[in-house]
Amino acid sequence: MTQVKVLREIDPSARVSPEAKIGPFCVVGPHVTIGPGTTLVRRVCVSGHTKIGSNNVIDEGCVLGARPQDLKYKGHPTLLLIGHRNRLGRAVTAHIGTEPGGFLTRIGNGNVLSDRAHVAHDCYVDNDTRIGRDVLLAGHIRVHDGAVIGDLVGVQHFVTIGRHARIGPGTPVRRDVPPFTDFYSKNYDWDEPPAVRGVHQYGIAAARLDKEEEKELRRALSELFEDETALQTKIEQLVNMGVEGAVAELCQFVQRSLQGVFGRHRELARGKAPPEAELYLPPELKTVVRESIP
């Protein structure tokens, strides 16, 4: 067998683990860190201040850490952090953060991002989510643990997707999706906006709640979303009854969404650093963020 010279361009100042596999035609920029066991299959471009953890598989044509598409970005070296055990399909794109959005885009651990999915600036994708093909996550989105997003879903900026929620394929998401719910549009009817249309059974199973807690949660979900009128009062009633666990989480989530702009809670933090930035940013950048944005 003949060994052909492998064409790739890895900047000498990039910190690539010797146990990482970098395939042909990959381009790795100067400020990139790649952990052990990570595979860049072929034709992957990693630029910007990007840190990739261990045991990720990044498939052909992915472009990670490019400049955000936000016009407010002024060129500060912001970050993209990718955790461990993620699987990124073909042509997945993820951008670095912007200055007014908290300097950071983060993809957690154990996520599956299918082909052509896009994670825009200042998004926080938590752990074990499943993101379908051609999914567009606009800027400043938070996707909580275990959320399942179907193919061709477009998510508007500042949306929060709750824990173990499911979004049906082809749904335009314009407001927060509560945890454990099934959210989709009906028959592609443009006059009827997508809404919560049920319970995400697999999500509840995956959350491994106690039997009693699960029963309470199912009751709360059907009570709240069977008919969405007077959601505020229904939640207040539930809270006054003294709920805890998953139901309390659900109530808090919906209450926050109701306080937000057009049902998007994170919109209130527009132009400010989000709380997650404080959590995940490296210490040297925290002071920069605190000084530059409130």
């Binding site: 064409l7 471009c45 472009v63 490019a66 567009l136 477009g154 082809g170």
Partner: protein, 262 residues
């Protein structure tokens, strides 16, 4: 001096890039590794071409354009091998995985200062004016015409040979299957006019008076129906004192005469 004339300084081309002989590159062009520049391509001063980009066909790229990784410019149609012409203006940003086709016998034109985001497809013979923003995965069909300061959201489509007026906003997932009027906000498939794109008009420095006049005209033209144009109203608006309303009426008259918008 022609912007394509080669001076003393050599362009910064990665040794791993392929540039065919005959390609005209200005002296401060930057080309990343694994990019391919075809023999009939012309790149003006200040162009930055990142890695793994293909620029084929009779493509000319204006000054200070930036092409991001994996984009394809001047692609021939599916299954075709002969490339047409593709003229791209100044200061455009073409993001990752975007594709700009060049037509056989018809020229694809892109104006200045456009932002074409990830995965956009610009069909053969399409023409785009200036200052447009096209969100991810928006498709502009072959032969479509797009005006100035147009905003398109994710997954929006302009069907072949249809037009989008100046300052219009096409919402996500919408499919422009009839001409979208200028200043409008259109939604759905088939498209319906949902109102005036006030935010964009304010950002573009329109006077409050003009915006009010446009809103009044829209109320008269499209109220309740989403998309129904009354010929009498349009002809009356042609002599409206406000130039913006006149422009709106003129574009709608053209559409009525052309038989589209049924």
């Amino acid at each position: 001096m022609s912007p394509f004339e080669v001076g003393e300084k050599m362009p910064d081309i990665s040794p791993l890039a392929v540039v065919e002989t005959g390609a005209k590159l200005a002296e401060d062009v930057r080309i990343g590794p694994f990019s391919y520049i075809g023999e009939q391509a012309e790149l003006a001063a200040g162009c930055v071409v990142d890695n793994s980009v293909t620029i084929a066909g009779k493509t000319s790229l204006g000054e200070n354009s930036h092409v991001y990784p994996m984009a394809v410019i001047g692609a021939a149609g599916q299954g075709q091998t002969d490339h047409g012409r593709c003229i791209i203006g100044e200061a455009n940003t073409i993001r990752e995985h975007a594709t700009v086709y060049c037509g056989k016998g018809r020229t694809t034109r892109i104006g200045n200062n456009n932002l074409i985001m990830i995965g956009c497809v610009i069909g053969a013979g399409a023409s785009i004016a200036d200052h447009g923003i096209f969100d991810n995965c928006s498709h502009i069909g072959p032969g479509a015409k797009v005006g100035n300061y147009v905003r398109m959201s994710g997954f929006a489509t302009v069907c072949p040979d249809k037009a989008v007026g100046d300052y219009a906003f096409v919402t996500g997932y919408a499919s422009v299957d009839r001409d979208a009027p200028p200043y409008s906000r259109v939604q759905g498939s088939p498209i319906r006019v949902r109102g005036v794109n006030t935010t964009n008009l304010k950002r573009c420095g329109f006077e409050d008076e003009d915006i009010r006049a446009i809103k009044g005209a829209f109320r008269e033209l499209f109220n309740g129906s989403g998309y129904m144009v009354d010929k009498d109203v349009v002809s009356r608006m042609l002599s409206d004192p406000n130039p913006c309303v006149q422009r709106l009426a003129e574009s709608l008259r053209g559409e009525l005469a052309g038989g589209v918008g049924k």
